[in-house]
């Protein structure tokens, strides 16, 4: 199955289930969880179902394309369902069938993996899903988002698209995965990956990135004062990405790194509180 067909099949499946199929967000994020359609929508009492491709950036995970699995840029497929339905594991297994994985032919297992995002003040319990020993999906019941206990609970299903494609196409390296007929992921992303690795690890201007972080933080605070939650949250995301860049540049000592994590976390928590206060004052209390 082509990489792009994998995405289309998942859209078809989850769209058929009733999810809003949304498009990638236009700010750098480290994972699909950072999308406002997950982070903010997981707060509050209203039901919500969505599915989308989340191009994700993790500057520190880049390996100049040398490692077959690790990249500073890759795609997650993200599904959020709130409240989590009782048959969600079966729904998930059916989605694998929909993309051509006959689960009865494989060793499919749900192995404990508890998720935590220190920068988002979020955690949840769940599993990583193993397909014949390969981790293809992260499955999480959110318990806290932005420092707020959530109820109803959202379930998050995050497929590693490249991993699944490697498996389905029996390829050894992500760059060899066929994206469209005659076009590989390597054709599309190799230069992007190498140049960004250079930038992330060597050329990102540390002084400027530190300054940007401070500016983004300040801007987010100012916008929260104005109750402009979504623009404020966008600056939280930018600050988070700036921190990731500094991390990749290797200039943060342990204590300083912790301090940055706390700063992003405080912003994310302030955003979550402000969002609830503005939109669901009865829940915010």
């Amino acid at each position: 199955m082509l990489f792009q067909d994998l995405i289309l099949k998942l859209h078809e499946y989850w769209g058929g289930y009733g999810c809003v199929i949304s498009e990638p967000y236009d700010t750098e994020v480290g994972a699909g969880t950072f999308y406002p359609t997950t982070f903010l929508k997981a707060l509050g009492p209203e039901p919500w179902k969505t599915a989308y491709v989340a191009p994700s950036r993790r500057p520190q995970d880049g390996r100049y394309g040398e490692n077959p699995y690790r990249f500073q840029y890759y795609f997650q497929y993200q599904v959020i369902i709130k409240p989590s339905p009782t048959d969600v594991q079966d729904l998930y297994l059916d989605s694998l069938r929909a993309i051509g994985i006959k689960v009865e032919d494989h060793d499919v297992r749900f192995v404990e993996d508890n998720w935590e995002s220190p920068t988002l003040g979020a955690w949840g319990l769940g599993w990583e899903v193993w397909l014949d020993g390969m981790e293809i999906t992260q499955f999480t019941y959110f318990q806290q988002v932005g420092g707020v206990d959530v109820n109803p609970v959202s379930v998050e299903i995050t497929y590693g698209l490249e991993r699944m494609a490697l498996y389905l196409q029996n390829k050894k390296h992500t760059f060899d995965v066929e994206y469209a007929p005659g076009v590989t992921i390597g054709d599309i992303r190799r230069d992007f990956e190498l140049e960004h690795c250079e930038y992330n690890f060597k050329y990102a201007n540390v002084e400027k990135v530190r300054r940007w972080f401070d500016d983004y933080e300040e801007e987010a605070r100012r916008l929260l004062e104005l109750e402009l939650i979504h623009p404020a949250y966008e600056f939280v995301l930018k600050a988070s990405h700036a921190f990731n860049l500094l991390d990749a540049r290797g200039v943060l000592g342990h204590a300083e790194r912790q301090a940055y994590v706390q700063r992003v976390r405080r912003l994310a928590e302030a955003t979550a509180r402000a969002y609830l206060k503005k939109h669901y004052p009865e829940v915010a209390g």
């Binding site: 409240p83 339905p85 009782t86 060793d107 297992r109 319990l125 014949d132």
Partner: protein
């Protein structure tokens, strides 16, 4: 009657299941007892998708009991023969008529009868309570706020013989059907206490944990044996795998032979850590085979095998990439990169730390008679593998990689071995260093950490220990105890403190003192956990070296088990108290003795001193240095009877002296002489420890 109760869940964490089963059985027994429901036996079952309980021999109804309940004093309950409001209130609460109250021993009593209740009416709420109250380290809620439980509860089976008990919890109602294997028998299966095990087995679920475990072991070993190989099966991996599958099927696969260039520890770590595969040995070394245990028997196992192989190959490829990359740089060059890794703000980088350890080791190495060449070379490379990619990816390979890279790069194998040793122990019960050079580096590494953090005022408080200082201290006493060096704990800390001072950080004596007390506390906690009495350990802390403390604690314990010892310590405490009032350091002068008691005590001091020496000497032969985190060494201590008896005999001379001789007389010469005599007693026994702590 027999009860079956099954909690059907989404996949439970493998590490949680064993303790959940123990808790479930305990909780059920407690609640049944509280409900006055007797039973014959409780059995437990579990798979990743269920926890179950079978209770055999339940009665039809709970026991009927009568209780005599005491009420207010008679005086308060009756005024002029008439019941007061206090009496009426008591009767109402107890559910009896005032007229039925009786009077006995000055109080009012009520006879309260608890009638038996049908088991079927008691169980539903009791079982729901088990689900609600089963402890878990981390619970979750799901859906619109159901729970909390460790993972979502999806079905319940509650049957008393044939009858379905209506249990309702977290919006799930009980029924009579369980679920079979997710893929091999994906439907409902009717079960009760009699059929549970077999019905589930027929539905491809091995619910009996020990049976499933046996099957994991048997399938894996047989599969390896079929090719003349041997599966490597660590206990905790067997346990984890058992709780990851409902229907175990072992699958053997292989990886490229070229990866056998990697050390066995690396291959095993990748297989176990990432994939929960069992490594497979061919003779001394690992082969290029592995065994994975699938939770499912698909039509074609080759599909699963191919998947396992592809994933593992990718994982090992990573490790191999790190291996070849890391080897391009000499260990000494890696060591320089420690300057880029922070140890702790205020205490410098890892390069600073290893430099301090190097200096301290240089000071102590000669004193301990270590191989100074090996020590010097190892100290200069200590933690050189920390900046390598392999250790970054697999922190548990620290030390092992230093050895492996060192050997590969032509390092003296003795030095390489010390480098591996010097990061031990890796955990509270993990193996200790075997080479003395490795032990010294490992000990000084911990001493450096403790002093440094204490210097920064980061002493752990309460149960929180964010910097792992308790672990470091426990590791330190384990190493020093096991080595049995005649090296005062102070000397170790002083060497570490001096290294800090050499590098411009003034670690004060108070800090060293606080660190020592903290370390001694850890020793106390290890030894008391092993079964020594706290007081024996406290008394023995007086000895300077760690092994000295341990040996004395063990010997004092031996004394404490003898009834005469209590009398001796009582006398000793008074004697030692008095002795401390003496001013001179003279030996007692027999010419100045005025009483028989003085002469008798004087004659007893020397044999006591010798007995203590002999006890310590023979004790150290019978109880050679051991790991204080391990159980106490078992040894036949009968050769100690002689010196022990001799020591206890001192009471016979000390008692009359303390009873009849006035020490603090006006005559200064006589007084000082008697104090000197007591000092002799104190010093002779004091060699064993601060025995005054034991005196009543």
């Amino acid at each position: 009657m027999n009860l079956l109760f099954e909690i059907g869940t989404e996949e439970l964490p493998a590490a949680y299941v064993p303790r959940a089963l123990a808790d479930l059985a305990r909780l059920a027994a407690e609640r049944l007892a509280a409900a006055r429901l007797g039973f014959e036996a409780i059995e437990t079952y579990a798979t990743p998708r269920r926890l179950a309980l079978v209770v055999r021999g339940l009665p039809e109804a709970s026991a009927r009991v009568e209780e005599e309940r005491r009420g207010p004093p008679e005086k308060a309950a009756f005024k002029d023969g008439e019941p007061t409001p206090a009496a009426a209130g008591f009767a109402r609460k107890a559910g009896v008529e005032v007229a039925d109250l009786t009077v006995k021993d000055g109080y009012v009593w009520a006879r309260v009868v608890h009638e038996g209740q049908p088991t079927t009416s008691l169980l539903p709420e009791l079982l729901a309570g088990l689900v609600r109250d089963l402890p878990a380290p981390k619970k979750m809620i799901w859906g619109a706020g159901d729970g909390p439980f460790v993972r979502p509860v999806r079905w319940l089976v509650a049957r008393l013989d044939g009858e379905v008990l209506p249990v309702e919890v977290f919006n799930v109602s009980s029924g009579k059907t369980s679920r079979g294997h997710r893929f091999l028998a994906p439907g409902e299966v009717e079960v009760d206490a009699e059929t549970y095990r077999n019905a589930l087995y027929d539905a491809y679920v091995v619910a009996d944990v020990s049976q499933r475990r046996q099957r994991v072991v048997l399938e894996t070993t047989t599969l390896a044996l079929s090719e003349g190989l041997e599966a490597v099966m660590p206990e905790d991996l067997i346990e984890e795998v058992t709780h990851l599958v409902e229907w175990p099927v072992a699958v053997m696969g292989s990886f490229s032979r070229k990866y056998l260039e990697l050390p066995d520890e690396v291959l095993a770590t990748v297989m176990i850590q990432h994939q929960r595969f069992f490594p497979v040995r061919a003779g001394e070394r690992l082969s290029n085979r592995f065994i994975g245990v699938s939770g499912h028997q698909p039509p074609d196992l080759d599909v699963v095998r191919a998947g396992y192989e592809q994933v593992l190959e990718g994982r090992i490829y990573d490790a191999y990439f790190f291996w070849t990359e890391d080897l391009k740089t000499p260990l000494a060059e890696h060591h320089k990169k420690l300057a880029g890794i922070n140890f702790q703000r205020g205490l410098g980088t890892m390069a600073d730390k290893t430099e301090r350890v190097r200096r301290a080791a240089e000071k102590l190495g000669g004193r301990l008679g270590l191989d100074e060449g090996v020590l010097r070379e190892a100290a200069a490379l200590f933690k050189a593998d920390l900046p390598t990619q392999m250790v970054y990816e697999f922190p548990e390979l620290e030390g092992i990689m230093a050895r492996a890279y060192g050997e590969k790069q032509g390092l003296d194998p003795r030095v390489a071995r010390v480098l591996e040793d010097a990061v031990r122990p890796r955990g509270p019960d993990a193996p200790l260093p075997e080479t003395p050079e490795g032990a010294l580096l490992a000990a000084l590494d911990r001493a450096d950490t403790l002093l440094g953090f204490f210097h920064l005022g980061k002493k752990p408080s309460g149960s929180a220990d964010p910097y792992g200082l308790r672990r470091a201290a426990a590791g330190l006493v384990r190493i020093l105890g096991r080595m049995g060096w005649d090296l005062p704990l102070e000397a170790v800390l002083e060497a570490a403190a001096e290294a800090y001072r050499d590098r411009g950080l003034d670690v004060s004596p108070d800090v060293a003192q606080a660190a020592r007390a903290f370390i001694e506390e850890r020793l106390e906690s290890l030894l008391t956990e092993a079964g020594l009495p706290t007081l024996a350990v406290r008394a023995a802390q007086k000895a300077p070296s760690v092994y000295g403390k341990m040996l004395r604690a063990r010997l004092v314990y031996e004394l404490m088990q003898r009834p005469e010892f209590a009398e001796l310590t009582r006398l000793y405490k008074r004697a030692a108290n008095l002795a401390s009032q003496g001013e001179s350091t003279r030996e007692p002068d027999p010419e100045l003795f005025e009483t028989e008691e003085e002469k008798k005590l004087h004659a007893a001091v020397q044999p006591t001193r010798e007995a203590v020496e002999e006890l310590l000497q023979r004790g150290s032969e019978l109880l050679p240095p051991w790991d204080p985190a391990a159980p106490l060494p078992k040894a036949d201590l009968t050769p100690l009877e002689g010196p022990l008896a001799q020591i206890l005999a001192l009471a016979g001379a000390l008692d009359p002296f303390m009873d009849h001789v006035l020490v603090m007389v006006d005559d200064a010469a006589v007084r000082e002489n008697r104090l000197a005599l007591l000092r002799g007693v104190r010093d002779a026994l004091g060699e064993l420890g601060a025995l005054e702590l034991l005196g009543a």
